[in-house]
């Protein structure tokens, strides 16, 4: 396995607030409410007789985000922190448009790519096929992908397994390959929703380098993570949300310290 060329990125954490920078994602008073069928409710005496049709009708409203407002600029890498169920993933899905806003609005410069934990792109196809298809889907030509193919595979550290179908991959391997595919493109909005958590140390380091590189190339990265180390290493700005409300928004050090002391 060949080592990929590590890109040395200077550790210049300068959370400058310049009005010159171009906004990439603008979120205005965003509310998201889910209407879900409540099936996990405690069974009452009535439930045992009512059958499946009645139960399916009971709706519950979950107010997942309650008025979030912020703007992310190019060259930003924004860490999103908060406890489980605080609305982090909902916020990320709202930015990609996968979850519609109930009130308020989300503006973005392009449709972002989102890396979440979980499913392979196309399970029955080999890693090699997935790299090819992912690249084509993102709008690259075959020649461009072939040109970058070795870099992608080496970056993911997957040369040994690249011809096996993705259904045989572990969750860490899947995350590696997906990350490598989604970051082929540089100038873009990338959302990484805990996807690096399943990777090993070596890969985490490599992917954090890559995130810094994207940021330096006028990209914008959102990183949802419970690892404060990852956040400190990659983000110049952190947003802390709790129960769907924005608690704090500021330079990494300040917010993470406040979060850890909370």
């Amino acid at each position: 396995m060949a080592e990929s060329p590590e890109i040395e990125t200077p550790e210049t954490e300068t959370p400058e607030v310049s009005t010159e920078r171009k906004p990439v994602v603008v979120i205005q008073d965003l509310h998201v409410e889910y209407k879900v069928f409540a099936t996990g409710k405690r069974a009452t005496a009535a439930d045992t007789t009512s059958g499946m049709f009645k139960r399916a009708k009971r709706m519950q409203t979950v107010h997942a985000l309650k008025g979030i407002t912020f703007t992310a600029y190019e060259n930003d890498s924004v860490g999103i922190i908060g406890s489980n169920g605080s609305g982090k993933s909902t916020l990320m899905r709202a930015i990609t448009g996968l979850t519609p806003a109930t009130r308020g609005a989300v503006y973005a410069s392009t449709r972002p790519s989102m890396l979440g934990v979980g499913a392979a792109l196309i399970r029955d196809l080999s890693g090699q096929r997935n790299v090819m298809l992912g690249g084509l889907a993102l709008g690259f030509s075959k020649a461009e992908i072939e040109e970058r193919y070795d870099d992608i595979v080496d970056f993911a550290g997957m040369r040994q397994f690249i011809d096996l179908p993705m259904r045989t991959y572990s969750s860490g391997m899947t995350a590696r390959l997906k990350f490598a595919i989604a970051t082929i493109r540089n100038h873009e909005i990338l959302i990484v929703d805990e996807a690096l958590a399943v990777g090993d140390r070596q890969f985490r380091q490599r992917s954090e380098d890559r995130i810094r590189e994207i940021r330096d190339n006028a990209g914008t990265v959102f990183l949802v993570s419970h690892s404060m180390q990852s956040i400190r290493d990659t983000c110049n700005r952190v947003i802390w949300i709790e129960k769907g409300e924005l608690i704090m928004d500021g330079p990494t050090d300040e917010v993470v310290t406040a979060y850890e002391n909370a």
Binding site: P23, R93, T96, P100, A101, Y107, G118, L125, R129, L136
Partner: protein, 287 residues
């Protein structure tokens, strides 16, 4: 560090959940043609990879299908007596119908079955139903080649009309794409559709005249037959039979089928594309 941006659109940002204008969108889809074709090709490979006979299944499956129907309807139920060249009639029907039914079935699942792809990468979603229909079309071509070999083997020598099968197939491909656009979006809204579609397909199968000739069965009802000519699948199937076979007056080419299939193809393609595009931002949503 967040000063509210009053007018995001002034910075060239667009509202998430909006969709690009139809023209831009279609150009975007067209630029993904490598993705569409590669996905189709890889899918066919993957489908057969784990089978011992591998790619032979592409022709083996429709052939077995035809054998079973030939056995049941041709020999046991004696429907062959009334229809000249019954086996050829049946083969063309089964092979051509397979493309329609598989496009419909797989097209319906093209968005819902690819949620991982839709949720993580950003690309025009229309590429998915087009890719599914392209895949089914790629599977139809070797089957039809086999059909031509069988036809020649059983004494039907090639005529110039055989060449006209090419435009028929182009129309058929467009028609199935339009259909796939409709069912792909409808399935996103109503998942129950995947349970319903097999019945729709079956209804079409039994009423379109795959294993019996409508013209023979309803000989005394010219009005009914004239109406049936507007049924698109029947039109595609009959025209194919008439172009490929010329052994009997039953297979005289009915020229009126051409405008019928052209209208269906373009009509369904255009309406389907608009219908699919209109919900572009909703695909992949978590509800």
């Amino acid at each position: 560090m967040t000063q509210p941006v009053e007018d995001p659109e002034a910075f060239g940002l667009t509202r998430v959940g909006g969709r690009p204008p139809l023209g831009t969108y279609l150009r975007d889809v067209a630029s993904r043609k490598d993705f569409i074709v590669s996905l189709a090709k890889y899918r066919i490979e993957a489908e057969n990879q784990r089978k011992r006979l591998g790619m032979f299944w592409v022709v083996l499956k429709p052939l077995l299908n035809a054998l079973v129907f030939g056995l049941v309807f041709g020999i046991l139920m004696k429907s062959r007596r009334s229809t000249p060249d019954f086996f050829e009639f049946l083969l063309i029907g089964v092979f051509m119908f397979e493309f329609f039914s598989s496009s419909l079935g797989a097209g319906a699942k093209s968005i819902t079955g690819n949620s991982a792809l839709v949720q993580s990468l950003s690309f025009p979603r229309m590429a998915l139903p087009v890719s599914v229909v392209t895949q089914k079309f790629m599977q139809l071509v070797p089957t039809l080649t086999l059909l031509l070999v069988i036809l020649i083997g059983s004494g039907h020598l090639p005529t110039w009309n055989w060449l006209l099968m090419i435009p028929v197939l182009v129309f058929y491909y467009l028609f199935c794409n339009g259909l796939a656009f409709f069912v792909a979006r409808m399935t996103v809204h109503v998942r129950d559709l995947t349970n319903l579609l097999p019945f729709v397909t079956r209804l079409f199968f039994y009423t379109t005249g795959i294993f019996f000739a409508l013209d023979v069965r309803f000989e005394g009802h010219p009005k009914f037959l004239a109406i049936m000519e507007f049924q698109p699948v029947y039109a595609f199937l009959s025209l194919s039979r008439e172009l490929l076979l010329d052994s009997d007056p039953l297979y005289d080419v009915r020229l009126q089928f051409w405008p019928i299939i052209a209208c269906w193809s373009f009509g369904l393609l255009i309406l389907g594309a608009i219908y699919f595009w209109a919900a572009e931002e909703q695909y992949g949503r978590v509800t």
